[in-house]
């Protein structure tokens, strides 16, 4: 199987989403699919059979390729690819701001998460202060509007995924981040029952 492969199949079934436990990218995919009412067959794995093929072809680290989607004749990996796919599939409207400035701000906050916050999480204790600084900036941003960039966008989905992946480790800090706490309550209404879906692997 190649790194972005197709195989023939006539059966119509729900797309399979293979996720990694407590992985921000996997959580992003589940949250977006849940918000867009996409029916996915979610399973959890530390690594998949596809990984070894990917590793051979592109020397990727084994777990780099999760999450993965298998949808009928198509198999794809890498979060950006999956999120692009999930944001178009189905009949619900895509999460895509119409205004260029909102779109740009949405992407700024997504990049802050991916490029600045995520690398710090591998040594959570050692980077506690830097993580707090970023979360404080998010809290400040949320003091201006109810959502990350004024309206509900992918930035909310990305940051909700990050929060859910680290919530046990930041519970002490959360009391001082009042706007972030209020936003979380709002997100529970916006994407109902998402926490249960994200924790399903633990049961």
């Amino acid at each position: 199987m190649g790194f972005f492969s197709r195989k023939s199949s006539n059966k119509k079934q729900s797309p399979k989403l293979i996720c990694k436990p407590n992985d921000i990218d996997s959580f992003k995919c589940i949250l977006l699919a849940t918000h867009r009412n996409l029916d996915l067959d979610i399973s959890w794995s530390e690594a998949s059979a596809l990984d070894s093929n990917l590793s051979n072809s592109l020397n990727l680290k084994e777990t780099d390729s999760l999450p993965i989607i298998e949808d009928q004749d198509i198999t794809m990996s890498r979060a950006d690819a999956l999120l692009g796919y999930l944001n178009i599939k189905g009949s619900a409207p895509a999460v895509h701001p119409k205004k260029a400035r909102v779109l740009a701000q949405q992407n700024y906050w997504i990049q802050l998460l991916d490029d600045k916050l995520k690398p710090l999480l591998s040594d959570f204790e050692g980077n506690k202060d830097a993580i707090k600084t970023i979360l404080t900036a998010v809290d400040k941003q949320l003091s201006v509007d109810s959502f990350m960039v004024g309206e509900f966008t992918l930035a909310d989905i990305h940051w909700l995924a990050a929060y859910r992946a680290i919530e046990e480790r930041i519970s002490d800090s959360l009391t001082s981040l009042t706007h972030l706490s209020a936003w979380l309550i709002q997100m529970q209404d916006r994407i109902p029952h998402h926490a249960e879906k994200l924790q399903a692997h633990a049961t």
Partner: protein
């Protein structure tokens, strides 16, 4: 208050006269964009390519031209987490490649660079991600070696380069562009990195891969997406530009 953009514009001799409306001539693009970046940075090159593809006028300022201490103090104010490059449009400012590319694409005159089909979007994002996360470090290594004399494990880097170019070559077997027969973001990302590799003196490594070489020839002469008389690739800096810190601005002549 004077911000970093105004200081850079003034330093580049582009303040006032280059601002929209001062000459009295209305142009299709309502505001001239302003970009802070560096010519050796692939992300800055992607912004130039996008502005060219979408026919957006943009004044570009090389941040290396400002004394490091002064720049850091000013830069901290506009990008507290150090995300680069940065873009300004009138009273709006944003930093980060993802943000800038999406902004110019949405503002521009041409069709969006992103396909509408879900599978094509996924494939576009997949190949963009490979370029950004896997291929970029190799391109950065080679251009930094050429321009700044940095050293490292050449054999390992060249082996990685060959691995990714072979994968890209395979992908381009049946397509005009990387994802399909239309130019997408995947092409734009790979263009920036491959350009830096070519500028660093390794065109032979590109030409070794037949399909990549053919794609590269198309990219170098492709007219911009927006229909203006412009080849976006020609906006990219050559080795001399990179060494002397020259960053081209995007000017649209044929309104």
């Amino acid at each position: 208050m004077t911000d970093l953009f105004e200081k850079m514009a003034s330093q580049a001799g582009m303040a006032d006269t280059s601002k929209y409306g001062l000459s009295g001539d209305l142009k299709k693009t309502q505001y001239i964009l302003e970009l802070l970046g560096t010519p050796i940075d692939a992300n800055t090159l992607k912004c130039l390519l996008t502005a060219g593809e979408q026919g957006m006028e943009m004044n570009s300022y090389n941040t290396d031209k400002m004394a490091a201490e002064e720049f850091q103090a000013e830069f901290q104010k506009i990008s507290p987490f150090g995300i680069t490059p940065c873009l300004k449009e009138a009273d709006f400012m944003v930093c980060g490649t993802k943000a800038i590319l999406a902004f110019i694409d949405a503002r521009g005159l041409g069709y969006s660079l992103s396909p509408l089909n879900a599978a094509l979007v996924a494939m576009q994002n997949y190949w963009s991600d490979i370029a950004i996360k896997q291929f970029a470090p190799v391109a950065e290594y080679l251009i930094n070696k050429e321009v700044n004399g940095t050293t490292g494990n050449d054999a390992e880097q060249l082996s990685r380069l060959d691995l990714y170019l072979s994968a890209l070559d395979n992908q381009l077997r049946n397509n005009k562009y990387i994802v399909c027969d239309k130019y997408t973001w995947a092409d734009l990302h790979w263009t920036a990195y491959i350009h830096l590799i070519v500028v660093a003196g390794h065109v032979d490594l590109i030409n070794k891969h037949q399909n990549v070489a053919a794609w590269w020839q198309k990219i170098k002469t492709k007219k911009s997406q927006c229909g203006q008389d412009l080849v976006a690739y020609e906006l990219l800096p050559n080795l001399d530009d990179i060494k002397t810190g020259r960053l081209q601005s995007v000017e649209i002549q044929d309104y």
